[in-house]
Amino acid sequence: MPEKTMLPADFSDAPISLWRRGLNFLVSAAAIGAVVVVLMPLGAVFGYLIYKGIGSINWAFLTQIPKPPGEAGGGMANAIAGSVYILLIASSMGVPLGIGAGIYLSEYGRGTRFGNLIRFTADVLNGVPSIIVGIVAYGLVVLTQGHFSALAGGVALAIMMVPTITRTTEEMLLLVPQAVREAAYGLGVSRWRTTLSITLRTATSGVITGVMLAFARVAGETAPLLFTAFGNQYWNWKLEQPTAALSLQIFTYAISPFDEWHRQAWAGALILIVLIVTSVGAVRLVANRGMLKGAN
């Protein structure tokens, strides 16, 4: 620490003009104001969801299927199950593809032109509006099958999951030190076995984080399901039949003219947001425990 007297000159108590101080104050106030304005809708959305939704969540809501319009009662059991069903279909396709592409990028495509092309394309795919993905899944699955189906909805959501999972998997695998791989090679372990049992294993929690993020991102998607899964007022477990989904049901109920349905839309929205926030929260928890467990 240099002593104060060693400084060439001390201007610390030189006056700063009133105008400059005033402007500084105004800008600080404006920044705080911006934070308040941005947090307001967040508070309002969550507040209303809880205020309007919690009263309508009951046993019937969670176990029954919708009643005809205008009739009281009924629930969203089929939509909740349908959402889970579609997400499972989507994950079963999107997760392996995404992780595989991520492995390719980090283990084989590092610095190659082809790897860069795939990385760039994944970013492009990430920016495609969800409604467009719906059109494509419609063309691919609905037109070939001849009707709306759970499979079509799953394909649409899977397409949306792939780029997110690819990029996070790649980033997490790149964090694994090269020495770990070399140690395995040195012991005579083959390359594929090293990738799966050593590299991927070390980065597991990071990869799971990516998968959960992708999951949370598509869990609330509505637009790509409008003309793929289509919605259904009854139970459905068949791959090739239209299926209800929580987000679709919220949409249909919100724009309907019935008060009873509005009430249920709020309840459905509360359940959906709890689902999403739980998975994002789980991600935070996993992420806080360290992307790489002790491999550094």
Partner: protein, 339 residues
Amino acid sequence: MGAPRLTGPQPVPEQAVAVHTATHSQALIHAGDSRRADAAFFYAMLACGCSVLALVGLIVYELITKSSLSWHAFGWKFFFRSDWDPVNDQFGALPFVYGTIVSSILALLIAVPLAVGVAVYITEMAPRWLRGSLAFTTELLAAIPSVIYGLWAIFVLVPLLRQYLQPWLAKYLGWTGLFEGPPYGIGMLAAGIILAVMVVPIVSSITREVMTAVPQQQREAVLALGATRWEMIRTGVLRNARAGIMGGVILGLGRALGETMAVTMVIGNRPEIAKSLFAPGYTMASVIANEFSEATGDLYLSALVEVGLALFLVTIIVNIVAQLLVWTVTRGTPARSHA
């Protein structure tokens, strides 16, 4: 029997990696038999990587082939005609293009100052203990699904607009012509506001990222010259991060252009071009969402897919430009201004 699996404890502590592998090395060496398995694994991963290319190729192919009918019928004029008449098979996409552009620009006008303000507060002003939680909270805005924003907008935002904001705007700013007509609540203004809420987290997180990338010495140098905090932020940080912030804004634009559900629920869905922001409108994404599943007739469907193709191309270009801009800052080459 099957291939032996590595079943050691999950956390692999330091140095233990080698030890851990050593105890199982015998098994692992035998497990990966020969180059053939390596090659098979490589091709499997390559196939996964190629699937990303294939998906984008598939999207382009689907959109182009399914919209060719409309393209042959209307050509470029499709985007400059304002009649949308499924009954007589006449389709022009101008009202949707207009609605998409106006609602997105309106959203950016509201969102950008707020987002930059939030980013400035979090990176430069907030006490350290507040930063993490504040950043997480603003990011939480991005986790709320579009359909929930729509629900909230219909039942909370729209009544507020109808009762308070719109009469006020009409009274004091009605002379501009932007705020006239009956205050329905639902319309372009509502769509712009809800889009703004959805765009803020993206713009602010990118802005934070690029501001953090500005070297600390820049700040210290400006402060050492006797600048106030705001002067330091303006000349030392914002000016250096300018290109990246622009990238964030354009990324927000990309999100706003393609956003579907919330907009569909509050914009009013009428294919008209009106000067007033109180009037109902329609966007490219909303028209697809509303009419696609009930479009009868090949030309009708084809016209909707062509709207989708246009939307796809525009968002792709916007996103690529944004990525490039963000890279110029975060890749360690701050775009210095000489202004």
